[in-house]
Amino acid sequence: MLQGSLIILAFVVIAALMMTKKIPTLLALPLMAVVICIIAGVPAVGQDAEGTEIGWLSAVVESGTVRMGSAIMAVIFGAWLGQLMNKTGVTETIIKKSAELGGDRPLVVTLIMVVACAILFTTLSGLGSIIMVGSIVLPILISVGVPAMSAACIFLMAFTTGLTFNIANWTTFSSIFSVDVATIQSFEIYMLIATFIATLVLVFVEFKRNGVKFAFSAPVENAQPTKQLTGVRGGLAMLSPIVSIILVAAFKVPVCPAFMAGIIWILVFTATNFQKSMNLMVKTCYDGITDGGPAIILMIGIGILYLAVTHPMVTEVLNPFLLAVIPADRIMFTVFFAVLAPLSLYRGPMNLFGLGSGIAALVMGLGTVPPLAVMGAFLSAERIQGCGDPTNTQNVWTANFVEVDVNGITKRLLPYLWAIAIIGVVLSTVLYF
């Protein structure tokens, strides 16, 4: 009992240190893993009767660094493809051609921008890509009469819609929940639909609220692409973001080969010179790894924390606490996660890219609730974190760029995101409980 209480206390203290910006997440997760192991009495070095390593140095820290290996690789290849899309002008052309398609009608331009952003962020990742897309899309939205706050919210919702189908993220979730990518995909389809509908509702509500005329004629400034991709090859190049998704979702191709196919696809349809293409391929690979750096180091921490909380000696200590807290009843489970979903904000305990990964592993290991229902509940809460968390770099950048308060964005988006999360939790109960 004492050990369990101390672990919960350590959990709260480290979470508080992280949320108050005293220590970064990349330090907090491994630190928490080590503290949990020490309190639970896991030896630093040791073997069980069968000779398997059970010491935290080896079984938790060493093994944890590679636990998310496949997800790390997916992030790298995804970021590489994203860099290629940015450097070859595919990203810019997709946005600007979309803006031209919308003409001078604000609502049409906004809706097309939402779709274009969503498609782009199925592949793009990292703050660099957010800046690349946002610095074009946000001025376009504002130039057609959408107020800055509304433009920021719509952009972030569109980004989150695309993120639902980001196959690099699918691999991350698949590693966290120890399920295959197809299982993640089958639930994320519902999340995609829910997020897209919520984005459309947001657009209509914002237009109504701000009195933007639905057929108002306004000029779209600076819609001239600087890197023109034209003709059949240009058209095919612009399909790059969906090539990998189609391969994974429809043909069940593993994620990394699907990204490699996307990389080859974009190089083939944008190349003008073999040597230059090869140089670009190498350069974007290195830049992609830089882009993926923050996610990679976070995943190393997640892997270590996962192995710490699933260590038999730790689960033995924590299970009595969790059994008392986590409802085993369908209705109570739904209410519990629907109400607590906003705790994913500010890097809270429901945040899958932090403490939530460890908690999810613990709850799944209890055996009192179906693991897939836990997966659905946490993926639902992830909607709120991915889009609304004011500590996300993309939220801060977007708010700064359009000069609005980042917490204002969270306030404006929370009703929509919470609604999506509730729908997701209900769905996961219906589907998997």
Partner: protein, 344 residues
């Protein structure tokens, strides 16, 4: 093409013609752009009203009517160029006519990442935001040629999460102006090759540094080499065991280090003589740092080339030293200016 796009293109053509010639009259713009005088007149009026162009006064009188020259309005705004080298960081401010307004050395040491970002912002705050200084329109980051822009990534942190973004992106985010990245290598080569193209001459450009890169222009047209516009001669120079005159192998050598390939005048002259047998070269332009491309090295190379050519007509040799950064900054400012005015 939509009417709006046609007008936009015509505006770009007019500005482009003026930038190319510094100042032109309306009729000269019409000749240069193949637009009708009335179209040019309408576009020019709009550009004057918007502050892009100014009339600089009567330039020439023909058939009783004076032609008023038009130039870009130098007071339209300012352009900042940050030269980033391993030994210093310098910020220069130009007006739109490319006159240098002010400059300051931001650091006498190597600076990178968030330190460099902070230095540049402080420099901009001190120079560009001074009373009476025109509004900052754009910025160029001019990196030393052996640098990689990713060396200068800036950490964008919210306190809890963070991401690495390129320096140019961070500056764009902070200043909301176009920021372009360039390398001194590109400018030296661009200037040399552009001149050969303009003069319709044949020549070669050879850059001495971490690699030895060569580019060839024949009668104003660039020659497409196997590896593209440039061929790397470093492997050839380093592996070469022959020279025109073995006894004449001189001790004047560009020493081998991280920034330079080891080059002897003899080997360099031999490579040039080979190029001369392949292409009808009128001139060869070399570029490299002054500290390594010394007067003795130049004299030794010229002497060796005469020996290698064995009495045949040697091409005109020109040596560009890379430490004269002022003109490179102006070229970079010109590029930024074109990006802003032509929305390239």
């Amino acid at each position: 093409m939509r009417l709006k796009d046609i007008k936009k293109n015509n505006r770009i053509n007019v500005i482009s013609a003026i930038l190319k010639h510094d100042a032109l009259s309306r009729i000269e713009i019409a000749h240069e752009t193949n637009l009708s005088p009335s179209t040019v007149s309408g576009l020019v009026s709009g550009l004057i009203d918007e502050g892009y162009l100014v009339e600089t006064g009567a330039r020439a009188a023909t058939a009783g009517r004076s032609r008023v020259a038009l130039a870009v309005n130098k007071d339209l705004g300012s352009i900042a160029v940050v030269e980033i080298s391993r030994t210093q960081v310098r910020l220069a401010l130009f007006d739109v006519a490319l006159g240098e307004l002010d400059s300051v050395v931001l650091s006498h040491d190597y600076a990178s990442g968030n330190d460099l970002f902070a230095l540049i912002l402080a420099g901009i705050s001190a120079l560009a935001n001074k009373e009476g200084q025109p509004k900052l329109l754009g910025m160029g980051l001019l990196f030393q040629r052996d640098m990689d822009a990713s060396e200068f990534n800036v950490m964008y942190s919210t306190g809890i999460s963070s991401a690495n973004i390129p320096l140019a992106t961070a500056l764009f985010t902070q200043l909301r102006i176009p920021v372009i990245e360039e390398y001194t290598q590109d400018y030296t080569a661009a200037r040399a090759l552009e001149r050969m193209k303009e003069d319709q001459t044949s020549g070669a450009y050879i850059s001495l540094g971490a690699d030895v890169l060569a580019s060839v222009v024949v009668k104003g047209a660039p020659v497409h080499l196997k590896s593209g516009a440039f061929a790397n001669l470093a492997p050839l120079l380093e592996g070469m065991s022959v020279s025109c005159d073995a006894d004449a192998e001189t001790a004047e050598v560009i020493p081998h280090d991280a920034a330079h390939v080891s080059v002897t005048p003899e080997r360099l002259a031999y490579v040039v003589s080979v190029l001369c047998t392949l292409f009808p070269l009128d001139m060869v332009v070399f570029s490299g740092p002054q500290e390594t491309m010394t007067e003795r090295f130049i004299a030794a190379t010229e002497g060796a080339l005469h020996r290698c050519l064995n009495g045949a007509q040697a091409p005109w040799l020109e040596w560009l030293h890379l430490n004269g950064s002022g003109s490179l900054s102006a070229t970079c400012a010109d590029h930024v200016r074109r990006t802003i005015l032509l929305q390239e």
